[in-house]
Amino acid sequence: MSTATGGSDVQPAEYDNRDAFADELIALARENPRVVAVCNDSVGSSKLGGFKSEFPDRLINVGIAEQNLVGVGAGLANGGFVPFVSGAAPFLTGRALEQIKADLAYSQYPVVLCGMSPGMAYGELGPTHHSVEDLSWLRALPGLDVVVPADRLETRQALRIAAAADHPTFIRVGRFKVPDVTPEGARLERGHWTTLRDGDDAAVFAIGTMVSRTLRAAELLASEGIEVRVVNAAYVAPLDRAAIADAAASVNALVTVEEANISGGLGAGIAVEVAQSKRRLPMRILGVRDEFAPTGSNDNLLDYFGLTASAISTAVREALSDV
């Protein structure tokens, strides 16, 4: 990977994944007249303005009513449509969790849930507006895919895969600007993770906003002679068990990094797999440490919870020292 910035003064361009979401949704809607958008008054924050002007009849705004929002999505799928149901991630998942469970996952209606501005993107607005529980909640639902794209390209590909699926998918659509990390020509595949950098001392599994930071951490460690494998684990469900098994067999320590509560997200999922494998490996699970965030910007809070390149590299060193 040449996009990581270690040692360089040039900052790579960074992008709001919601723009990629908005463009790709319009592209999908042009290709397929059955693509519709459903939102909870979030036309602006879900970046649906362009969709609305091009397809006014195909945007259903149910107002500030998330339970109805998700139920309506299930009904549209019953009626033969491909609904993209979007809303701020904390409200879409928390307020309508039972609808996501019963109407989508258990009923297997192929609705695409677009959780906008996830993680701690709403920084100073506080924990009511943070969505760091979503991965724990949603990973517990069988039959629901959970995807956390790391950049623009992956966001577009995740939308396209979900639109063609015969089951429901939740996609985190990031607001916090991130650089491109996906190599040119790489294709996102359901349940398969992408290795962005090879190494056999330790493996770091990262998602979303944490992928570019993990690549920078790997550069820092490489300068000390520690070679780290960096895996973009975009599909939090289904997990890529082969990638976990492969790492568990070939490196000496595992680290996971996510902008989510560590109680049940990516790291917890990987730990469950590793705990049941033959080899015992030291692990560090980085994320929100089961605590409501203090006041701060998204950047401040990522610092607070140790979700920086420097903190990730420290965690790798510590895990390796347990060996």
Binding site: V62, A65, G73, N78, F81, S107
Partner: protein, 292 residues
């Protein structure tokens, strides 16, 4: 998906035809007999399973009988027909009543009703659309069916489909906020292909609705939310048939069907303790005699 029970579907088709050609008096007689058979099946199912929601099953049976035998445009041989009318059973705990209706259409064989809630049976205590043909949504938690029906109605409007959508709700369930979210948006979008049927038996699990969290004036409230409201006797077949006429004014229709919980079994009628109590063998005998 297992194919429909062809012989039973043929019987159902001929009943439909008879009903279409019958006088009002004959029609009521035919529907009364059909509903009585279903109640008998339902009592046996609950007795065998040792579980079930008998009170609400009995109150909603006449509503489902009219809908499945006379109103809905459905094809049990093709349960996924894209232009079928939809019935979303929001009061999913009354799966027993739904299964007897689906069996009488031949979606599932009547012989399977005896597996109700048995280990491994398709007939779970709450319906599963992936296992039982004719089921539109996996309901059970209350307040889910109407939002789903609103989405199906939207889909029908968007593609100018002819189908109608019926959501069958319990009255206690109207205490769920999600229903009022759905009522607002259905009226806002003028979903005239949507009909919400409220089984107004006035009893919820442990007490009368009006003593728990009062719903009245229910019809006025629904009207204020922008719906065309029709209040009827939910055990009067002709009144129900009229109430299920399509919307006349471009608005969604709410049918408030006044019913009796435990209807048809004297010792259960309007008695809150029969929400999900299971009758003894002797009570089953008495019930079946009354429904003979």
């Amino acid at each position: 998906m297992i194919a429909n029970d062809v012989a039973q579907t043929d019987l159902w088709r001929s009943l439909k035809e008879d009903l279409a050609n019958a006088s009002a008096l004959q029609r009521s007689a035919l529907l009364t007999e059909e509903a009585r058979q279903r109640r008998r099946q339902n009592v046996r199912m609950i007795s065998e399973a040792g579980q079930g929601h008998i009170g609400g099953d009995m109150s909603v049976t006449d509503i489902l009988t009219v809908l499945y035998c006379h109103i809905l445009r459905i094809d049990p041989a093709n349960p996924a027909w894209p232009d079928r009318d939809r019935l979303v059973m929001s009061k999913g705990h009354c799966a027993g009543a739904l299964y007897t209706a689906l069996a009488s259409c031949g979606f599932i064989p009547s012989s399977e009703l005896s597996t109700f809630m048995a280990p491994g049976s398709r007939l779970n205590g709450h319906p599963n659309r992936l296992k039982v043909p004719g089921v539109e949504a996996n309901t059970g938690p209350l307040g889910h069916g109407l939002p789903i029906a609103v989405g199906i109605a939207h889909a029908g409007m968007l593609r100018s489909a002819r189908y109608r959508v019926f959501a069958v709700l319990g009255d206690g369930e109207m205490q769920e906020g999600s229903n009022w979210e759905a009522l607002m948006s259905a009226a806002h979008y003028q979903l005239s292909n949507l009909c919400a049927v409220i089984d107004r038996n006035r009893l919820q699990q442990g007490a009368p609705t009006e003593e728990t969290n009062a719903l009245d004036p229910l019809a006025e409230r629904l009207h204020a939310f922008g719906w065309e409201v029709r209040t009827v006797d939910g055990h009067d077949f002709e009144a129900l048939i009229d109430a299920f006429e399509p919307s006349s004014g471009g608005r969604p229709v709410a049918v408030v069907a006044n019913t009796t919980k435990g209807k048809g079994i004297s010792f259960m009628e309007d008695d809150v303790s029969w929400h999900h109590k299971v009758p003894t063998d002797e009570q089953v005998r008495t019930a079946l005699e009354e429904l003979a």
